[in-house]
């Protein structure tokens, strides 16, 4: 099976972000970057399929500046066979434009399965996979938490609010990955060495003009510092009083 996984480079979220003087970018000083959470799950799922079938190829694709090469190498050190950088400098927020560029690369790739994260953890639109599928005329299953194959039929589970669906679809298809499917492995030392020699192709992204623009970034209002109202069951009456009189939720 030939599998493509679209991966995005995102900052580690475990920090206090600052906004750059431009007002439209995050101050990247001191930030660490990695594969976006759900995209990491997708890479792992793709590798497991390849290992199970003991055949096929896993290609990772990322759109961005040259910094994404590091992200692509990381995926190759996990086990992906080769990588494609769709080179585009600057910030891009128009998912339709990004999806168009990804679709242009994927179109003639002969992929059986094209995988995305269900949403990127930074811009968090959650739309790119479905748009690519539509542009390629492929069926799409969004936010899957299980994936199995019965020959050329993919069998999947999708989480809904308070419910789930079991769905089926013939390949080729596009899927977007939710948590639950696989935890990404850590690259082994051997994997890291091997990744250095794996092919990484870089080509300009065919990005159409953006019709969704980023005006500004802002930090949400800070929560007031928390307060501890008491210890043990003795604090319960005061808690209930506050919920009733102050928070007015009772």
């Amino acid at each position: 099976m030939k599998i493509a996984v679209c991966i995005k480079r995102v900052p580690d979220m475990d920090v206090r972000f600052k906004i750059a003087p431009s007002g439209t970018a995050v101050d990247e000083t001191g930030l660490k970057f990695d594969i976006s959470d759900f995209d990491g799950y997708a890479v792992e799922a793709a590798l497991q399929i390849k290992e199970k079938l003991n055949a096929g190829e896993v290609v990772v694709i990322s759109l961005g500046g040259d910094v994404v090469q590091e992200t692509l190498r990381k995926a190759m050190s996990m086990g992906a066979d080769r990588a494609v950088q769709l080179k585009a400098d600057g910030t891009h927020v128009d998912s339709f434009a990004i999806a168009s560029a990804l679709a242009a690369e994927l179109k003639d790739g002969g992929y059986d399965l094209i995988m995305f994260g269900r949403m990127s953890i930074d811009t968090a639109h959650g739309v790119t996979g479905a748009i690519v599928a539509e542009l390629l005329g492929l069926p799409c299953v969004n936010a899957i938490s299980k994936l199995e194959f019965d020959g050329r039929t993919a069998k999947m589970r999708r989480e809904l609010e308070g419910a789930y669906e079991l769905v089926e679809c013939a390949l080729p298809a596009v899927v977007t990955i939710d948590e639950g499917i696989a935890r990404p492995r850590y690259p082994s030392l051997k994997g890291i060495m091997a990744a250095k020699k794996k092919p990484l192709e870089s080509k300009p992204a065919q990005l159409p003009a953006a019709r969704l623009s980023l005006d500004a970034l802002a930090l949400p209002p800070e929560r007031a510092a928390g307060r501890i109202i008491g210890e043990g069951t003795a604090a319960v009456p005061e808690l209930v009083r506050l919920l009733k009189e102050e928070a007015k939720v009772l």
Binding site: P11, M13, D37, F38, V93, D94, F96, I121, T123, H125, G126, V127, A130, I131, L135, P139, C140, N142, A143, E159, L160, E161, G162, A163, Y164, E165, L166, V167, C169, A170, A173, E179, G180, R211, L212, L214, D215, A216, L217, A218, P220, R223, G226, R227, I228, I229, G230, E231, G232, T233, A235, V236, P237, L239, V240, L242, L243, K244, V249, L250
Partner: protein, 326 residues
């Protein structure tokens, strides 16, 4: 550009979802700013049209009813194709960013070759353009984005635009699907309830959430009891708990789970890891019960109680029950 707005009236299993009414509320903001009408589009198995009146009562001037046996289950391909084909008469399409709305909206946008603004917590109509606020970076950064494409395709976060009584004509127009639902390439073989909670996490005004501090799965009965005492509460969980299979993955709140903004969030035996906070830090009031007074959850909790959650929960449940009764 048409001033009319089409709203996605989501249903599941023959019932309307609150998401349907929220989409109409949001759509009204656009239509009212532009002097247009709101039409709601409702898909379902034959009989779904009975819900048209409820849509009219919440702001729909017209309800397009698309009944077909193939819509007994989710069918995003046929739904999106039908919506896209209808969009020539509308300047905007609004869905709620629920699991189903998130599945449908980008397909509509792609079919029409336009971008979309996803998961807005607020928006402003500025003539032909719409500027949205969209939380990103696990809720740590608010992005302000302007959509200039026409039609404007928008999804709004669940809970951001609450249903309001707003009686409109709700005139019913029956419509056939544009694509044969039976021909969709993706087939739903089963839809099943994933958790027993009657109220969905995205809709509940109160969420009682449990973490590893509950010690074992059986102790979630204490969490369930507190939720029941509130009467309007859903039960959530941390990843530590869903990983161990104490609760279904669908109950997980956080960076890789559900993002929720209830009026009240009660964290029981939850440390307050950054990935968990990412999913609930926008709750209006946060209560934390944890035996470790240094637990990070206390930094965001409006009201913290230090102590053993297994002892405190029954007492709190009883007190809430009494407060509710009085």
């Amino acid at each position: 550009m048409s001033a009319h707005v089409l709203a996605f009236a989501e249903s599941r299993g023959g019932e309307l979802r609150r998401a349907a009414l929220e989409a109409i509320t949001a759509a009204r903001r656009i239509a009212d700013a532009r002097g247009g009408q709101v039409h709601a589009i409702l898909f379902g198995a034959p009989g779904i049209g009975a819900h048209a009146a409820a849509l009219g009562a919440h702001g729909a001037d017209r309800v397009l009813v698309v009944e077909h046996a193939g819509f007994a289950h989710n069918n995003p391909e046929a739904v999106a194709a039908t919506i896209a084909a209808k969009m020539s008469g509308y300047g905007a399409f609004v869905a709620t960013a629920s699991a189903t709305g998130k599945d449908v909206a980008p397909r509509v946008a792609a079919t029409l070759q336009v971008p979309m603004a996803a998961d807005a917590t607020a928006f402003e109509v500025k003539g032909e353009a719409i500027t949205v606020t969209h939380p990103g970076y696990t809720g740590k950064i608010l992005q302000s984005l302007t959509l200039t494409a026409s039609p404007a395709i928008l999804s709004v976060r669940a809970g951001a635009y609450l249903p309001v009584a707003n009686a409109k004509a709700g005139e019913v127009e029956a419509m056939a699907p544009v694509a044969d639902p039976a021909a969709s390439r993706v087939r739903v073989t089963e839809t099943a309830a994933g958790n027993t909670a009657k109220l969905d996490l995205g809709e509940a005004p109160v969420i009682v959430s449990g973490g590893r501090g509950l010690k074992e799965a059986a102790n979630f009965s204490l969490v369930e009891a507190l939720a029941a005492a509130f009467g309007n509460a859903a039960v959530g969980a941390t990843r530590a708990v869903t990983d161990d299979g104490w609760r279904p993955h669908a109950d997980q709140i956080g960076q890789t789970g559900r993002l929720v903004s209830p009026d009240l969030y009660i964290a029981c035996g939850i440390s307050g890891a950054i990935q968990h906070l990412a999913g609930m830090r926008t709750a209006k009031t946060i209560v934390a019960i944890n035996k470790d007074k240094e637990a990070p959850i206390f930094k965001v909790a409006d009201y913290g109680v230090v102590g053993d959650v297994l002892e405190i929960l029954p007492v709190l449940t009883e007190a809430v029950r009494r407060a509710k009764a009085s």
